[in-house]
C-alpha cells in the first residue's frame, strides 16, 4: 500500500512525443510513432523506480523493476536508431542505474533520503559516538601496543594480538547494533509516511526528529567503519 506513485499524471509537456508531437502515452515508446521517449517520473531516484521515498524495500521487486526498465531503455537496443533516441537511452539508463544502485544499498538509500529532505549527511563526515569515547581511547592504546609488539617482535605479541581481535569483535557487534537502530528508524519513517495523506501532512516535529536521528546514526556507522578498517589494516600487515 502506498508503495507506488501514481503514473498517470503527466504534465502537459511530458504528455507529448518529442518526435511526432502526438500524445505519447505512458510507455517508453511513443504510442503513435514508436520512438523512444525520455524517462517518466524522473524527479528523484525513488520515483524513477516507481516508489515513494520509503526506506524498507523489497529487494526482489526492486530488482524486477530494474530489469524491466533496463529492457526498455538500455542503449544496446537503440544502436540502430536515431542519434536522438540513442542519447535519450544513454541518459535514461544512467538515471535508472544510479537509482537502482542507490536504493539497493541500505546506507546509500538513507543518505539519499536525507539529501532529498534537505538534510544531507556531509560526505566523509563521521561523528564519533560520544558514548564510545572511552572504548575508542583504549582501542587506540591496544592498537599501538600491538604495532609495537609486532615491530620489536616481543614475547607478548600473541597477547597484544588477542586484545586487538577482542576490540575488533566488540566494535563489530556495536556496528551491528547501529544497523538495527537504522532499521528501527526506517520503520518509523515509513510508518510516518503511511499515516500521512494529502489531507494529513506528516507531523513535522516527528519527521525532523527521525531525520536527525537517521543522520546521526549514519555518522556513527561511518565513524565505526573507519575505525574497523584501520584495525583490519593493522592486522593484515603481518610482517
Amino acid at each position: 500500500m502506498g508503495n507506488k506513485t501514481p503514473q498517470n499524471h503527466l504534465t502537459a509537456e511530458e504528455n507529448v512525443c518529442w518526435a511526432c508531437h502526438h500524445p505519447r502515452g505512458t510507455g517508453h515508446l511513443c504510442r503513435y510513432c514508436s520512438v523512444l521517449q525520455p524517462l517518466l517520473n524522473s524527479e528523484n531516484r525513488f520515483s524513477v523506480m516507481g516508489l515513494s521515498p520509503r526506506l524498507n524495500l523489497d529487494f526482489s521487486s526492486l530488482q524486477r523493476t530494474f530489469y524491466e526498465l533496463s529492457r526498455n531503455y538500455h542503449p544496446d537496443f537503440y544502436q540502430t536508431r536515431t542519434s536522438e533516441e540513442k542519447s535519450i537511452s544513454e541518459a535514461a539508463t544512467a538515471m535508472i542505474n544510479t537509482a537502482y544502485e542507490t536504493l539497493n544499498d541500505p546506507i546509500r538509500r538513507v543518505e539519499y533520503l536525507l539529501t532529498l529532505e534537505g538534510m544531507p549527511a556531509e560526505r566523509g563526515e563521521s561523528k564519533p559516538p560520544m558514548d564510545l569515547f572511552e572504548e575508542i581511547l583504549s582501542m587506540q592504546e591496544t592498537l599501538s601496543d600491538y604495532r609495537e609488539a609486532k615491530l620489536n617482535k616481543t614475547a607478548n605479541l600473541d597477547l597484544a594480538q588477542a586484545a586487538v581481535l577482542k576490540t575488533n569483535e566488540d566494535l563489530e557487534s556495536r556496528q551491528k547494533g547501529l544497523a538495527k537502530r537504522l532499521e528501527a528508524l526506517s520503520l518509523r519513517w515509513d510508518a510516518l509516511l503511511d499515516s500521512s495523506s494529502t489531507i494529513h501532512k506528516p507531523d513535522s516535529e516527528e519527521k525532523k526528529k527521525i531525520l536527525t536521528e537517521l543522520r546521526d546514526t549514519l555518522g556513527e556507522i561511518a565513524y565505526l567503519r573507519t575505525v574497523l578498517r584501520d584495525i583490519q589494516k593493522t592486522i593484515e600487515t603481518r610482517s
Partner: protein, 608 residues
Amino acid sequence: MGRVIGIDLGTTNSLAAYMEGGQPKIIPDLDGHRLVPSMVTFTPEGVVVGEQAKQLRAENVGNTIYSVKRLMGKGIGEVKAELTMVPFQVSDQSNEVIRITINGHDYTPPELSALVLKQLKTQAEKFFGEPVNQAVITVPAYFNDSQRQATKDAGQIAGFEVLRILNEPTAAALAYGLDKKRQGIIAVYDLGGGTFDISILKLNNGIFEVLATNGDTRLGGDDFDRAMTEIILHEMESRYGNGIRQDPKLIERVRIAAEKAKIELSFQLQTELVIALEDGKKSYRRTLTRNEIEDLIRDHVSKTAEPCRQAMADAKLTPDQIDEVLLVGGSTRMPLVQQTVKALFKKQPKCELNPDEVVALGAAVQAHILMGEIRDMLLLDVTPLSLGIETFGGIMSKLIERNSKVPTSAKETFTTFVEGQTIVDIHVLQGERELVNDNQSLARFALKGIPPMPAGIPRIEVTFHLDANGILNVSAKELHTGQEQSIEVKPTYGLSKTEVERMIKDSMVHARSDIEARQLIETRNEADAIIRATEKALRDYSTLIHEKEQKKITTALERLTLLLKSEDRHQIRQAIQEVETLTRPFAEAIMQKTVQEDLKGKKLSDVL
C-alpha cells in the same frame, strides 16, 4: 548494412566470430586456422601479419612486434620495465603515446593493433565474400578509459565502425549463457597472454548483470614466458658465457622454446627443451618438469587471488554463494592455475567452452544484440575503476565509484578563482587511491569561453558520462546563461582526434598499395601453377602434340618463368594468357583422350 563480427583482440592471439542460425561461430582463414597470432613483422617485401609473422619472428627479430596490447593507452613511463624485455625499439619521440621505431618509421600501438584487426577484416571478407565494416571488439574488463579509447582507435584505423567495446569476461559469460537455461551467480576467471580479469555476474532470464569486476592488466602468460626465459638464459650463460645475451635472435629462440615448453607442460609432466646455438652445430638441451615451471610462476599466479577476493567483497558475496566458475584464456589450461581457482572459490572450475575462443564467440552474440537480432538477452556491465577529478592538495575526489553500472553520469559544479577568469582546467583521473599521483591520469579538460564575471560567480555544471563502452564523455553548461561550454580535451596517454583521422586516411592509402601487393602475389602464384601444370602435361602427353607446337609452348613458358620476378602484374598476366592460348588445343586433346579412355567398353547410355 553488411556483416557485423565480434573480435577478440588478444595479447597473443586474435580471432573473429559471427552468428549463424542463432549460434556464434569462429571465422577461419583460407587454411582453416582459427587463431591469428597478434604479431606483425616488417620485411623488405612489406608488412606480414599473423601466422606468417610468427614463423618469421626469430629470424626477423627487432622488426617483429608482439604483445602490443600491453602498451595500448599507456604512457612511456608506465611501461619502462616492460619495454626492456621486448626486442623492439622505442622511439625517442614517445611522449603521450608510445612510438615504436621500425625501419625508421614510428608506429603507435593502435596502428600496430590495427594491422592485426585489418588481417581479421580481410579474412572475414574473404570468408563471406562481402565487405565487413562493423565490429564489436573486446578488451580486458580492467582496462581503463585510455586503453579502451586506444582499442577503439585501432578499430577505426583498421576501417571498422566500432559498435561496442565489450569486456572480455562478460563476452565469455554471454557465450556461456546463450541457451538461457543458465541461472544464478557465476564468476569468470580470465587469464590470458597479457591480462587478468575476474568478473562476477548474476544470470537471470536472459539478463547478464555484472555485480563486480577486478583484475590486473599486466599479468598473464607473457610473464610466465619471461620468468622461464630468464632462467634458461641464466643457465646458458653459465654454460656458454656472457655472449648469450648479446644475441637477440638467440634470446627470441629461447622465448619461443619457453612458450612451447609451457604449453606442453599443461598436458604432460616433463618436456625436452632444445635450442639451437648460433654456430648451428651445438644445441642447448634440458629437461623441464611441470614442478619446475610451477615453482617459477607460482608468485605470478598467486597475484590473481587478491583481485578475486576484492571482486567477491564488492559483490558482497562469499565463495559458497557463487554457483559456477568459468575459465577463460589460454593460461587457464595450466593445472596450477586451475588448482588456484579451485582453492579460491572452493569449487571445481568449468572449462566446457574452448578458453581461446569463447570471448570472440560472446562478442559475436553481443554484435547480434546490438543489431536488434536478439531481444531477449541483455548485458548490464560496470566500470572497473573509480572516476574522479583532481582537487586541492593533489587529492582525487571520486565522482563515480568502481563497479557502478554503465552507462552512468555524475555532475559537478565548478567556478572561477580570479575575476574575469574565462578558462577552468579539470584533470580527470581513474583509480582507487587517494592521491592524484597514484592514480591513472586520463585527460585534462579546458572549459573555455566562460563569460567574464567576478571570482566565484560563474557556475559551470560539468557532466561526466561513462557510456556503455566504459568510455568517458564530458559536457559542460554555464548555469546562469544555460549555455553549453566548449571543452578542449587533451588525453594524457592517447591519440588526439586529428591524429586518429590522419591514421585512418593513411591506412586507406596503404590499403590501396596493400591490395596492389596482394594482387601481384596472387598473379605470380597463378603463373607458377600454370608453368608447373603445363610442364607436367608436356611430359605426360607428349604424343598428343606436334613437335612444332611443343616448341612454341616451351618458349612461352620460358618467357613466363622469367617474368615471375617482374613487379608488373599486367605483364605477367599477358604472358599467362599467351601460354593459355597456345595450350588450348593441347588441353582439348588431353581432355578428349581422358574421356575416350573413360568411355572404353561402355555404351554412351551407361555414362549418362
